[in-house]
């Protein structure tokens, strides 16, 4: 059980009468790429915000990186990376300044920051853009940079909330290569997405409908269970039952 990075047990979040996340239970193992699927409004982002310590659960239990989400959320934060739907690097800082800032507030040493910055810049082919303001970069590059910043401090686990929204297919491909590399280094990846082809890249996939997890398995197994040709079909079969709109 040591290698379980996330354990969620009947985790629930209510906003007044509205139950955004309705008693979800699952676990994620070390090094896994875990796809978190669902239609808009299914509760994906809320669930992710609870696990990353941004939102207080209403009930249920959850352990992330070995810590309790209720009491030890600040300890959790030391061990996770997070990339939100909204692009959230500072547009008026340069690439290098953003990296340095985020690494700094995670308490990384100067030597570590210096060395790894060069490595990351090289990996992203951004060496020549390092001193340009982030706002001048194209969206795809920004997203890749945001991902690299999110895992710069070498967390156990990274949460990605629709990281490839609005990005062209080539860049998406490149983005997934980055994800694989991170996973290869032992970082667990927890990713939400709209794109069903991306779901195929995941080790395991869960599909949320109306705040509940309706299916959880490997993509291959899911296709089998639902007698579907593709993940797309699986998703449509499940999502059709949804009552919540956008």
């Amino acid at each position: 059980m040591v290698d379980k990075v996330i354990i969620a047990d009947k985790l629930t979040k209510r906003f007044g009468d509205f139950t955004a996340v309705d008693g979800i239970s699952f676990d994620v193992s070390q090094g896994e790429i875990f796809g978190f699927l669902g239609a808009n409004g299914a509760g994906k982002t809320t669930a992710m915000r609870m696990l990353s310590g941004l939102s207080m659960p209403t009930s249920g239990k959850a352990m992330v990186a070995g810590y309790d989400v209720y009491k030890e959320n600040e300890k959790i934060k030391r061990n996770i990376g997070y990339m939100s739907q909204k692009f959230s690097l500072y547009e008026d800082l340069t690439v290098r300044e953003n990296i340095r800032f985020y690494a700094g507030i995670y308490g990384k040493s100067n030597a570590f920051i210096k060395e790894k910055t060069e490595l990351v810049l090289k990996q992203l082919h951004l060496t020549s853009e390092a001193d340009k303001l982030v706002k001048s970069l194209p969206l795809g590059w920004k997203q890749k940079l945001a991902f690299s910043v999110a895992i710069f401090h070498e967390p156990k686990l990274v949460f990605l909330d629709e990281p490839t929204g609005g990005v062209d297919p080539v860049t998406r491909r490149e983005f997934w290569n980055l994800i694989y590399e991170a996973a290869a280094e032992g970082i667990t990846v927890f990713v939400t997405t709209h794109y069903m082809d991306e779901a195929e890249y995941c080790n395991r996939v869960s599909i949320m409908v109306d705040g509940r997890i309706d299916a959880l398995d490997t993509p291959a197994q899911l296709k089998k269970t639902f007698a579907a040709q593709s993940m797309d079909e699986v998703f449509l079969k499940l999502a059709r039952k949804a009552v919540r709109g956008e």
């Binding site: 941004l54 939102s55 909204k86 959230s88 690097l89 800082l93 700094g104 995670y106 303001l133």
Partner: protein, 372 residues
């Protein structure tokens, strides 16, 4: 501490990267401090007088000469009917109508009693009160002149006279700018300080970067200090610039200790920045932050005791001014710049402002949730 250093580095970088806002922070106070104090002359001079002289006698002319020679009044309309005089008031060509009745001279001489009437535009009550008081004083002097003319050899002065002498302390030349310049500086400092922090943090909320910070292990207090310190330094720079202008343009040199002045300004800025922080924790977007801040600034500024006297307010309004940090700084700046009061004299105000700083910042920290 290391984390704080990174936060500060980032804030300063962002501040200097947007020169448009930086320029505004420094240029706006300069322009306003150079121009606005000249506007604050409240001495009631240049009162516009409409004259309705129905007597046309030597006395009526003498009275009018005496009035215009006083320097307080300008004769702007010479009317032949009350309607005409009234129209002069309606069109703001006159503030006061002096109505000299027919046979004014005759009544004084024959019946030893005459009555003048004046009608005053009283929309601005003070101007009306002072203007009519001046005019009455001149008329009384005129009356005295006539008496001495007619009672050639008074047995002995029957008229009781209490001689009133005035001294104006702390500002003998009655230079209103000495008071206004530092006062306006306080107002500008308040607006700039509160809005800088409020807008800055709400902006991070809107862009979403604050969420990225919230998911890091950064402590709330570090994050808030990272915001306070840069703006605190900027605020003190603006304050220094303002004092420089006061000295260069107006020759105002604080009579009290500069160290005390800075000590108070430093604490005051913390309070004001804390207010900005607090606004930012409640506002969801910049528009809301701006409205809340506008609402508070109007009240702080109009009820700060710079423009109107707090003593004259009803009790409930005085209670409001007790919760107005501006009123304390206006008090203190008046004491330190003009009266040369010492550190001991401002102890009370300093205590209160320290309280404001602690409460506002504490409240802001409590109300800033890394987790919703």
């Amino acid at each position: 501490m290391r984390v704080l250093r990174f936060l500060l580095q980032k804030e300063f970088r962002q501040i200097f990267r947007d020169p448009s806002i930086l320029r505004l922070i420094f240029i706006m106070p300069v322009i306003q401090l150079v121009f606005l104090p000249f506007a604050a002359d409240y001495e009631v001079r240049n009162i516009k007088l409409a004259l309705l002289d129905r007597d046309h006698s030597a006395y009526s002319r003498a009275l009018v000469n005496k009035i215009t020679a006083s320097g307080y009044f300008m004769l702007t309309a010479n009317c032949v009917s009350f309607q005409e005089a009234r129209a002069a008031i309606e069109t703001d060509k006159a503030d006061i109508i002096l109505d000299i009745p027919p046979a004014f001279e005759k009544e004084i001489v024959k019946e030893t009693e005459a009555t003048l009437s004046m009608s005053v535009n009283a929309i601005n009550g003070v101007k009306a009160g002072l203007g009519s008081a001046y005019l009455q004083r001149i008329i009384m002097d005129f009356n005295q002149d006539i008496r001495t003319e007619w009672i050639q050899f008074p047995r002995f002065d029957q008229d009781t006279r209490i001689a009133v002498t005035f001294s104006n302390w702390f500002n003998t030349s009655m230079n209103y700018k000495v008071f206004m310049v530092p006062g306006i500086l306080v107002l500008l400092l308040t607006m700039i300080g509160a809005n800088l922090t409020a807008i800055n943090i709400v902006r991070e909320k809107e862009i979403g970067t604050i969420e990225q910070i919230n998911v890091t292990p950064v402590q709330k207090s570090h994050f808030i200090l990272g915001k306070l310190i840069p703006f605190w330094i900027l605020g003190l720079l603006v304050f220094t610039l303002g004092l420089g202008i006061a000295r260069l343009f107006y020759g105002i040199i604080p009579a009290g200790s500069l160290v005390t002045l800075y000590a108070f300004a430093a604490v005051y800025l913390l309070a004001v920045l804390g207010l900005g922080l607090l606004i930012s924790t409640y506002a969801e977007n910049q528009q809301q932050a701006m409205l809340i801040s506008f609402f508070l600034m109007m009240i702080f500024i109009l009820m700060g005791g710079l423009y109107t006297s707090i003593d004259s307010m009803p009790d409930w309004a005085k209670a409001i001014t007790k919760a107005n940090p501006v009123s304390y700084f206006i008090d203190v700046i008046r004491m330190l710049v003009l009266k040369g009061s010492g550190f001991g004299d401002i102890g009370y105000q300093l205590g209160i402002i320290t309280g404001f700083a602690l409460v506002l910042n504490g409240w802001a920290v409590l109300n800033y949730h890394k987790r919703s």
